[in-house]
């Protein structure tokens, strides 16, 4: 694997537009495969609409199952885009350049997946979603309860989706103009329309840069609010042990960043493997993201620790019983162990080694492991909170996901993969202008004694 390669503008265009202007052999079969899986999930959804939510494994007292787990998981993944783009842009981290767009696009498709998982699928009667906007009974004054976290949720997620989409579009404009100038016929017309008359004048560049910085700053509160609100879906309730905790908002946010940044690292490796972008995405980038992940994962683990300590500190029997269920009762015990190992104790010690951080295969394995763990974490929070057998209840059921639910969950993964691949076929997945900006002025090195060290331009 090679380190930083100095490229000129033409070379950057050639490398990054090769698969936009052409088509790799594997692309069509891969896209069709994910489309078929997604449609299978769609068919399962149709079946559920026809028969009712009884075809799922949801049953009292566990009325929130795979769909809600998946909702929280995808919202978590969506935090990748803003973490990489906004925060690293504001802090002027050089290594962000090749990662920003893939992270932002991952955000957009994750959010659509999350919207599919909760408001569309989980509610069972999705057409009623319209009634959240247009109350159904003006006569009797039945309005959505604005004090409910379930009203905040769609507002926050939709705002985040809008902001993230704007983020992608603003950063795409200069690249769209390049594609416009390299295409003919209908494609040329479509790209001309999309690039909004971009000519690359100084004024346009200035506006684009200012818009990027403004969006970065403005989207950060949205980014924080989205997962905070998702966490409050659970935490504001007093009836479910394990949910009513003040740490939930930061715990969910840092967990989301942990899983989201891991997902970006997974996507990075896939980009190198599938598109052969070794000259752009180097081990340096993986190394940087690996170091960031060590810090993020450790903060997440601290939040997990606090959540547990204060659950035990309550000395309330139901709370202690829930923790006992999580740690000592089959089969949850096995899932709990797998969760801890995959989310923290396997990847983090691995990332301590520079060789692992710079190795595509091991970064792929460890970051996939994180997301297995983080999916399980949400499962253990949501399902076990509800599954604990309480006194004086007539329903002592537990939860077994049905094939319908499993299919729909798999379909959301297929949707994100499908979306990313289609996006990468139509638009460059790495921002050309950002890469070129990073190359300006030649390879930045400073010689100290006999050693050359990397450097970056500061105004």
């Amino acid at each position: 694997m090679q380190e930083h390669v100095q490229l000129n503008s033409k070379e950057v265009n050639d490398i990054l537009l090769k698969d936009v202007l052409g088509m790799p052999k594997w692309w069509l079969p891969a896209v069709l495969f994910f489309l078929v899986v997604f449609l299978a999930g769609g068919a399962a959804f149709g079946y559920m609409l026809n028969k009712g939510v009884g075809v799922t494994g949801l049953n009292r007292p566990v009325m929130w199952g795979f769909f809600m787990v998946n909702f929280v998981f995808w919202i978590g993944i969506s935090h990748a885009g803003i973490m990489i783009s906004a925060i690293l842009r504001l802090t002027q981290a050089e290594w962000r350049r090749p990662l920003t767009r893939a992270a932002e696009v991952l955000t957009v498709f994750s959010l659509t997946s999350a919207l599919m998982a909760a408001p569309l699928v989980h509610v069972g009667r999705p057409w009623r979603a319209a009634l959240w906007v247009f109350p159904y009974d003006f006569e009797r004054g039945v309005w959505p309860n604005v004090r409910s976290a379930f009203v905040w949720d769609p507002s926050a997620v939709m705002t985040y989706l809008t902001a993230s989409t704007l983020f992608v579009i603003i950063a795409l404009l200069p690249d769209l103009a390049i594609i416009r100038d390299r295409t003919t016929g209908t494609a040329h017309k479509v790209y001309s329309l999309l690039c909004l008359g971009w000519r690359g004048t100084p004024r346009q560049w200035k506006l684009q840069a200012v818009a990027g910085i403004l969006l970065s700053a403005l989207v950060l509160p949205v980014f924080v609010s989205v997962h905070s609100i998702v966490s409050w879906d659970f935490a504001v309730q007093v009836g479910v042990e394990g949910w009513h905790s003040t740490i939930f908002a930061p715990y969910f946010i840092i967990g989301a960043i942990h899983s989201g940044v891991s997902a970006v690292a997974t996507v990075m490796v896939l980009m190198v493997w599938l598109y052969k972008w070794q000259k752009i995405l180097t081990p340096d980038h993986l190394d940087a993201i690996g170091r960031l992940l060590i810090i993020v994962a450790t903060i997440w683990f601290f939040a997990f620790f606090l959540e547990w300590v204060f659950a035990l500190y309550t000395l309330e029997d139901p709370e202690l019983a829930l923790r006992e269920l999580q740690v000592f009762k089959h089969p949850w015990m096995a899932l709990f162990i797998v969760f801890l190992i995959t989310a923290y104790f396997f990847p983090v010690p691995m990332w301590m080694f520079k060789k692992v951080r710079r190795n595509m295969f091991w970064m792929f394995v460890t970051t996939i492991s994180v997301n297995i763990g983080m999916w399980l974490e949400r499962f253990l929070i949501i399902v076990l909170g509800l599954a604990r057998r309480q006194a004086f209840t007539f329903d002592w059921g537990t939860y077994h996901p049905s094939m319908i639910e499993i299919l729909m969950v798999i379909a959301t993964f297929a949707w994100v993969m499908f979306g990313m691949l289609v996006f990468a076929k139509v638009f460059p997945l790495i921002p050309l202008f950002d890469i070129k900006e990073g190359m300006v002025g030649g390879p930045h090195k400073i010689k100290i004694g006999r050693k050359e060290i990397p450097a970056s331009i500061h105004e």
Binding site: S245, T246, I247, G441, I453
Partner: protein, 469 residues
């Protein structure tokens, strides 16, 4: 002429050679013992004496009534929050390999010496904190899970953590200052008492490659360890010396809020030190807009972090409305300390928000400075609100909620003396430490000259900064 400014700001200083930097900063260190310094030492010594008088007055009343020690605990927590967290201003950017904090990293690290004084302040609190056998809750699950833990577990663990933080902090500042101490050793006349002291402190530093490697390596380890200990200590203090005194206050986020507030206070303390160094210490050329801008952004971000943490806790209690949650909101927010809460909210969050969003204020020297004073005052009010309220709860043995919210505890003359004495003693410790260890890191300033290059790019000149592996 290469610019030393920021984003087109006018150059503030000419670029010096390494030898000139060495000479200039050593000379500033030696002549900083002037009239202003002596007056400051005198003033803070008087405050320290007042504090000792206040402490004696307080001891006469005994230690059994925790309500009387609320202000004492708040003063301790304030110094722990500000001086204890200030070294993070040097540690975090050093790990991130940022260059802008180089001129202020030593002044931040020197705050860890204040930990020695605060350790003394901490000792009486060990007598004030009720033992576990009186029935209060504890982090150590006394008598509730498995075998009972020792009666004084909170006291033991907090003391060990406090000691560890102080030792690591002192080691950190010593390790960081080694090259500068060696330079002072070589500069002073042989055989003098001061030269002998520097020779002893320098531990045979010669500046070999191996020694530099060792110093960088250990600085990284000590920095990481300091951060871990800081988090751990705040966790212990905020729970066992605060939360456990209020039955029914169960807030998993509060230790993190305590740390976030401390980091805010730490940044504000360093900012204030920067201004004093710049205006009255002769370091106008070394400390410029870069440092104020960098710390200003950090202060702004930490203010937002604080409000997010605060609100995340508040909304859970407000929505939950369990009896214990209602009483906690009543005690800390709506009830006897409402004016103090307003003051804290405005100074710690509202002012930084409404002022720091403006570029001209953020990118200035006086804007962030005034806000750092506001944040320090807000942090002080915050510690008063939490500690005085918690220590005033009479029956700490109730299991699930306080039965009666206590009335406001107003400070007596002893409390005022104690607060003045703790703050004065902390500043005095810092001033005396700065006499021995140069307040500006000479070697870091010299190293910066190697990493900074000015090159033409098209029609402008740009600054290129190297980042070592």
């Amino acid at each position: 002429m290469p610019s030393n400014g920021h984003n087109g700001h006018a150059a503030e200083a000419v670029v010096l050679t390494q030898a000139q930097v060495q000479e200039d900063l050593q000379e500033k260190h030696e002549r900083s013992r002037g009239q202003t310094f002596r007056v400051a030492v005198g003033l803070f010594s008087v405050l320290l004496v007042l504090g000792i008088i206040g402490f004696i007055l307080r001891v006469v009343d005994g230690v059994s009534d925790t309500a009387k020690w609320g202000y004492y605990a708040a003063a301790f927590a304030f110094v722990l929050s500000t001086a204890g967290a200030a070294p993070m201003v040097a540690i975090a950017p050093r790990i991130a390999k940022a260059h802008w904090p180089r001129p202020i990293s030593r002044s931040a690290e020197l705050f860890s010496i204040v930990g020695l004084f605060n350790l003394l302040v901490f000792i009486p609190l060990l007598w004030v904190l009720p033992p576990l056998e009186q029935g209060r809750r504890t982090l150590w699950f006394f008598g509730s899970v498995g075998e009972p833990v020792p009666n004084y577990s909170p006291h033991i663990w907090a003391t060990l953590a406090m000691l560890a933080l102080v030792v690591v902090g002192v080691l950190l500042v010593w390790m960081s200052a080694l090259p500068d101490i060696a330079a002072l050793r070589d500069r002073l006349p042989q055989g003098t008492r001061k030269q002998k002291m520097y020779a002893w402190l320098a531990r045979g530093w010669k500046g070999t490659s191996a020694q530099w490697f060792m110093q960088k390596h250990r600085l990284g380890i000590l920095g990481a360890f300091y951060f871990a200990m800081l988090i751990f200590l705040h966790f212990l203090i905020s729970v066992d010396f605060l939360m456990t005194l209020v039955p029914g206050w169960i807030d998993a986020l509060y230790p993190a809020t305590h740390v976030a507030n401390a980091l805010q206070g730490g940044v504000a303390s360093v900012m204030l030190t920067m201004v004093i160094m710049r205006q009255w210490g002769g370091y106008k050329n070394e400390i410029g807009l870069d440092q104020f801008w960098g710390l200003g952004k950090l202060l702004f971000a930490l203010s937002l972090l604080w409000i997010w943490f605060f609100f995340s806790s508040f909304i859970i209690f407000w929505f939950g409305k369990k009896p214990n949650e209602v009483s906690v909101i009543e005690l800390f927010i709506k009830g006897p300390y409402l004016p103090i809460f307003y003051a804290e909210f405005v100074l710690t969050f509202f002012f930084p928000l409404v002022f720091m969003i403006w570029n001209p204020i953020r990118k200035s020297i006086w804007g962030p400075t005034i806000l750092s004073i506001a944040v320090l005052a807000g942090t002080f009010f915050g510690r008063i609100r939490m500690y005085v309220a918690s220590y005033s709860v009479a029956d700490q043995s109730a299991l699930h909620a306080i039965e009666t919210v206590p009335a406001t505890v107003m400070p007596g003359i002893a409390d005022v003396f104690i607060v003045l004495g703790v703050i004065g003693g902390s500043i005095l410790t810092y001033l005396l430490a700065s006499r021995i260890i140069p307040i500006m890191s000479i070697w870091e300033k010299k190293e910066m000259l190697m990493y900074e290059v000015h090159r033409p790019l098209h029609r402008i000149h740009v600054r290129i900064l190297g980042k070592p592996d």
